[in-house]
C-alpha cells in the first residue's frame, strides 16, 4: 500500500510539472533517451509490364543506460508479376512450362519471354544490439530471419569498432554468416536439361517433367567480412572507406531461369535450365564522402566490386539535401551503375555449341548499365515526428556483351530495358 502510494508521487509530480511548464516540454527531455523511437515506411516498386512489389518496414530503436542500443526491424513485402525467364524473343509465339509444372504460359511473337507466375510474400525480422565494450570500443551483434514461401534465410553478424584520435578515426571489422535454403514448388530442375513443354496435361508430359527434376531443396552459405575506416576530416566533412569480402558457396543457380538453344537461323529449338558455379568470391571497395555546406549536405559514394565470375561493377551515388524553411528539406538523388557480364553469361547458345560447364542467360549477370533519379521531400510534424516522401525512377539497360545475333535474333530485342518507379512514404515517431 505504502509502496504504491509512493510510486504515485513520481507520476503526480510529472503531471504537476507538465501543468507548470507546459506538457510537451516537460516530457521531451526523457523521451530522447528512454523511449522507443520508430521509423516506418511503405514502398511501392513497379516495373512497367513486369514485377511490382509492396514493402512495409517498421524499425524500432531503444537506447539504454551506458550507451547500449537495441534495434529491431520487421519487413513484410509482397511481390507479384512477371520476370524474364532468360529465353530470347522469337518471330513466332512461344510456349513455356511454369517452374512448378502446374501450368504453361504463352509469349507473343517478338516479345521477351516473361514468366508471370511470380507471387511471393516475405517476412523478415532483424535484431541488432550495440554497446560500448571498453574505452573506445563499440561492439555490435545481430541476427536476421527471412522467410518466404519457397525460401528461408538465416544470418548472424558481429562487428567491433575502435575509435582513435579523439573519436575522429574509427576502424571497424565485422563478419556476417548467412544460411539460405530454397525449396521451389515442383522441385529443382536438373542443369542443362530441356524444359518439358509438349503434350502438357498428359502422362507423357508428367513423366518428362519428373525426369528433369533433381531433388527439392538446396542450400547456400555466405560469409561476409567487412573492414571499415571512418574519418572526420573537419567540422563539415566525414569520410568512410570500406573493403568487403564475400564468399558464397552452395547452390547459386537460379532454378527459374532458362536459356534458349537456337539453330543457325536464330530459331529457338528448346529452352534448357541454366547452371552456375557453386562458389563465388567477391571483393568490394566502397568510399563515401559527406559534406555539410551552409544549408545543404552533399553525400557522395562510389563502390567498385569485382568477383571471380568476372563481373566488375561500378556504382556512383549522390544525394544533395537542401534545407528549406521550417525544417522542411528536399533531397535530389542520382545513381549510376554499370556491370560487366559473368564469364558464363550468354544471351542464347547455338545448337552446335561445345559442352559448357556453366551457363546463364539471366540479364542480371549480363552486361548492364542502370541509373536512378529521384527526389525526397521531408517535413517535421508538430509533435517532433517527421514525414517524408520519396519518388524515384530506375532504368536498367542490359547490353550486348559481344555476342553476335544470328538470323531471326537480329530482328528481335535481345536486351530489353526495364523501367521501374519507386514510391515511398516514411514516418518517424
Amino acid at each position: 500500500m505504502q509502496l504504491s502510494k509512493r510510486r504515485d508521487v513520481k507520476a503526480l509530480l510529472t503531471t504537476a510539472t507538465c501543468a507548470l511548464l507546459g506538457g510537451a516540454q516537460a516530457s521531451a527531455t526523457e523521451s530522447s533517451s528512454e523511449q522507443w523511437q520508430f521509423d516506418t515506411a511503405v514502398l511501392f516498386y513497379s516495373e512497367s509490364e513486369r514485377v511490382s512489389a509492396v514493402e512495409a518496414i517498421v524499425a524500432g530503436q531503444k537506447s539504454f543506460a551506458n550507451d547500449q542500443r537495441l534495434n529491431v526491424k520487421l519487413t513484410i513485402d509482397s511481390l507479384t508479376g512477371a520476370s524474364a525467364n532468360g529465353a530470347v524473343a522469337q518471330p513466332n509465339a512461344q510456349t513455356f512450362t511454369r517452374p512448378s509444372g502446374n501450368g504453361q504460359y504463352h509469349i507473343k511473337a517478338d516479345k521477351t519471354p516473361l514468366d508471370d507466375t511470380f507471387k511471393d510474400t516475405r517476412v523478415q525480422l532483424t535484431g541488432q544490439w550495440t554497446q560500448p565494450l571498453f574505452n573506445d570500443y563499440t561492439w555490435s551483434v545481430g541476427g536476421n530471419l527471412s522467410k518466404e514461401y519457397d525460401y528461408l534465410s538465416l544470418s548472424v553478424n558481429s562487428n567491433l569498432a575502435r575509435d582513435f584520435n579523439k573519436k575522429n578515426t574509427t576502424v571497424s571489422a565485422g563478419f556476417s554468416y548467412a544460411f539460405d535454403q530454397i525449396e521451389p514448388e515442383g522441385g529443382l530442375a536438373k542443369p542443362f536439361t530441356t524444359m518439358a513443354v509438349d503434350s502438357f496435361g498428359t502422362p507423357e508430359f508428367d513423366d518428362a517433367f519428373a525426369q528433369i527434376r533433381d531433388g527439392s531443396t538446396e542450400d547456400k552459405n555466405t560469409l561476409d567480412l567487412l573492414f571499415g575506416l571512418t574519418q572526420v576530416i573537419n567540422r563539415n566533412t566525414i569520410v568512410q572507406l570500406n573493403y568487403s569480402y564475400s564468399d558464397v558457396s552452395g547452390y547459386l543457380t537460379d532454378p527459374f531461369k532458362v536459356i534458349s538453344v537456337v539453330d543457325q537461323h536464330g530459331m529457338s529449338q528448346r529452352a534448357i535450365y541454366e547452371n552456375r558455379p557453386d562458389t563465388r568470391t567477391k571483393h568490394a571497395f566502397f568510399g563515401q564522402v559527406k559534406t555539410h555546406f551552409n544549408n545543404t549536405i552533399l553525400d557522395a559514394s562510389y563502390r567498385f566490386m569485382t568477383d571471380d565470375w568476372q563481373i566488375d561493377s561500378h556504382t556512383l551515388d549522390m544525394r544533395y539535401r537542401i534545407s528549406l524553411n521550417n525544417g522542411h528539406f528536399v533531397e535530389p538523388h542520382v545513381r549510376y551503375y554499370t556491370q560487366s557480364a559473368a564469364e558464363f553469361y550468354q544471351p542464347f547458345i547455338q545448337d552446335d555449341a561445345m559442352a559448357l560447364d556453366y551457363l546463364s542467360a539471366d540479364y542480371r549477370i549480363g552486361e548492364m548499365d542502370a541509373f536512378t533519379v529521384g527526389i525526397k521531400y521531408g517535413l517535421p510534424m508538430s509533435s517532433g515526428d517527421s514525414l517524408s516522401f520519396r519518388l524515384e525512377y530506375y532504368r536498367q539497360t542490359p547490353k550486348n556483351n559481344g555476342t553476335e545475333a544470328i538470323g531471326a535474333l537480329k530482328d528481335v530485342e535481345l536486351y530489353e530495358p526495364v523501367d521501374a518507379i519507386i514510391a515511398q512514404v516514411s514516418y518517424s515517431f
Binding site: L3, R6, R7, D8, V9, K10, L12, L13, T14, T15, A16, T17, A19, L20, L21, G22, Q25, A26, S27, T29, E30, S32, S33, D67, K167, N295, S323
Partner: protein, 302 residues
Amino acid sequence: MDRQVECITRDGGFTLTFFAMASPCEVLIDTLDKRLAMLIGQKVAAEAWRIEDKYSRYQTTSVCGQLNTNAGTRCPIDEETYLLLQFAEQCYQLSDGLFDITSGVLRRAWHFDCSDNIPTEQQIAKWLPLVGWQRVSFDRHGFTMAKNMEIDFGGIGKEYAVDKAMDIVQSIIKQQTEAVMPVLINFGGDLAVNGPRNSDQAWQVGVEHPSLTEQSVMMVSIRYGAIATSGDANRYLLKNGVRYSHVLDVKTGWPVKNPPKSITVAAPKCIQAGLLATLALLRGSQASEYLSEQEIKHWVID
C-alpha cells in the same frame, strides 16, 4: 550585487556567469559561435533576474512580498503566479502536507546559524498556527490567506527558474541555428542540460557539499534532464552533540530526525528533482530508501 553577465572563453565553448537568487549562476554552451553564446547567456540571466524580482520574499515589491504584506485580503494574481501556486498545491497534496510553502514563518523561531540556539517549545508554538496551506484559498485571478501568514517560493523558485531558462535556450537555439548546441544551466547547484555534449558525451558536474569539517565535491554525470541538490549545508544547529537540521517538519515545527547532509536527485525537470530531494530529506533517515523505492536516481551524502 551588479547585474552583469561575464563571458569566459574555454576549450570548446563559453561559460557565462552571473549572480542571481543569492547564488553564483553559470551557463555552459558548447559552441564556437560567441555571438550566440552571449545572446543565450543574456537571456538566461534576464530570466533568472525576472523570476528573482517577481518571487523573492526579501523584496517587498515582489509578487511574493505583496502577497505577504497583504495577507488577510484577497490579492489579484497573474497566470504565472497562479500556475506556481497550483504547483505548490499539488506538491502539498502529494507530500501529505509535508511540503508547505507557508512554513517559512517557522524561521522566526529557528535560526540555523550553526549555533546551539535551540528555540523553546513556546517559541515554536507561537508560530505554528500560522503554518498551513489548507488555510489558503486561490483561483486563477486571486489569492487569499490568513493574516500574518507568509508564503515563500524559496523551495521551488531556483529550480523553476532553471527550467524556464532552459525553455528559452531551446527556443533560441531552434531559431538561430540548425546545429546541435549542448547547453548546461546551473543556478547554484540546481541544473539542467538540453542533452548530451557533442560526441554523445555526458556532462560532468561537481556537486558541492560544504560542511563544517570538509569541503567535498562529488562528480555526477548527466546526459539528459536535470539534477537538484537539497541539504543542510551550513544551515543547522548543534547542541549537546545533537545536530538539528534546517529541514522542518511543518506538523511539529521541529527538525526532521537524521536526514542525510545532502541529497542530489536526477529528474527530467529541475523542479521535479528539487522537489523530490526536498521530499526525501523530509523522510529523515529514510531519505535514500524513499527515492530508491520509486526508482529515482539519486546521490546521498550522510
